[in-house]
C-alpha cells in the first residue's frame, strides 16, 4: 500500500519530505547509495536518467541528469558531506540552471521500527527567498488543488 507522503516547511529555509517504506532501513539505504538501484526509482515520472554517477564516500561527487519526453534536460550535482550507514546521508546539491540560488544541503535520515523505515529528507536552502521558490504544498492544499495526474502515475507504478 502507498503511504502518505508529507511535505512540511519548518523555519524559513527548509523543506522536509517524509515517507515510510515497508522494508528494513539497510535495504532503503542501499537503494540511495548504489547508482544501479538509485537510477531505477529516483526522478520525474516518464523521464529517462541519462547520467547517474555516484562516488559514494565522504567528499565523493555525485551527478544525476534526467531528460523529459520532449527533450528538456534537468541535472544536478554535489558532494557527499557525511555518510553514516544505514541511518544518515548528507549531501550538497546544485542544479545546473541554479534555480535554488546557491544550492541546497540535503540530509536524509532513516529510522526503522517493526520492519518499517521512515525516510526524512530535510532540504535546507541558502535563503528564505530561495525556499519561497520551492515552498510548497500547504498553499496548494489550502487552495484544494487536485493532483489528479498523480493518482494515475501512482496506479501505474504499483507492483502487480
Amino acid at each position: 500500500m502507498p503511504r502518505p507522503l508529507t511535505i512540511a516547511t519548518p523555519g524559513d529555509r527548509q523543506i522536509v519530505v517524509t515517507r515510510q517504506f515497508d522494508a528494513p532501513r539497510d535495504l532503503v539505504f542501499l537503494c540511495y547509495s548504489r547508482p544501479e538501484l538509485l537510477r531505477r526509482w529516483y526522478g520525474m515520472p516518464e523521464w529517462t536518467t541519462f547520467v547517474c554517477d555516484i562516488d559514494f564516500r565522504v567528499g565523493g561527487k555525485w551527478r544525476i541528469g534526467q531528460r523529459s519526453p520532449d527533450g528538456y534536460e534537468l541535472a544536478s550535482q554535489g558532494l557527499y558531506t557525511a555518510i553514516v550507514p544505514p541511518e544518515r546521508i548528507e549531501q550538497t546539491e546544485y542544479y545546473d540552471d541554479d534555480w535554488t540560488r546557491g544550492g541546497t544541503t540535503n540530509v536524509l535520515t532513516l529510522t526503522e521500527q517493526n520492519g518499517v523505515t521512515t525516510a526524512t529528507m530535510t532540504i535546507t536552502y541558502t535563503s528564505p527567498e530561495a525556499r519561497a521558490a520551492a515552498a510548497a504544498s500547504p498553499m496548494a492544499e489550502g487552495m484544494e488543488i487536485g493532483f489528479t495526474r498523480l493518482d494515475a502515475v501512482l496506479a501505474e507504478e504499483q507492483p502487480h
Binding site: P2, I7, A23, R40, W41, P45, A132, I145, L150
Partner: protein, 124 residues
Amino acid sequence: MTPSDQLDATFIALADPTRRAILARLMEGEASVNELAAPFDISQPAVSKHIKILERAGLVTRSASGTRRPVKIEAAPMKQAVDWLEKYRQFWEASYGRLDALLAELQTPVNTDKSRKKKDKPNA
C-alpha cells in the same frame, strides 16, 4: 521579471493566509475592495495593502475605470505556481512509488539471487 522571479513573487504573495483567502474569493468572480474586506476582521486599508502585494506579483489586476474598480484574478501566474508545486510533489510521490516497487522486488525471495542475498526474516 524572469520566470523564476515571477515564481518567487507568486510564492511570497501566497505565503499570507489573508491573501490566500482573498484569492479564493476572487476565484468565484471579481469584487470591489470593500466587498473583499467584508469577511475579514481587518481594516479596509489593510486589505488594500494585501491587494497591492497581489497586484505587484501579477496575481490580480484592478480595472482603471469606474469608482468601484473591481479586482480580478489573473490565471497565468497562478497556474505557473500551481504547476510548479504539482511537479515537486509529483517528483517525490512518483520516485517513492517506484522505490516501494524496488524494495518489494529486493525482498522477494525468487529475485534475491540476482543482486543480493536475502537477510534473515525480520519476524524470526
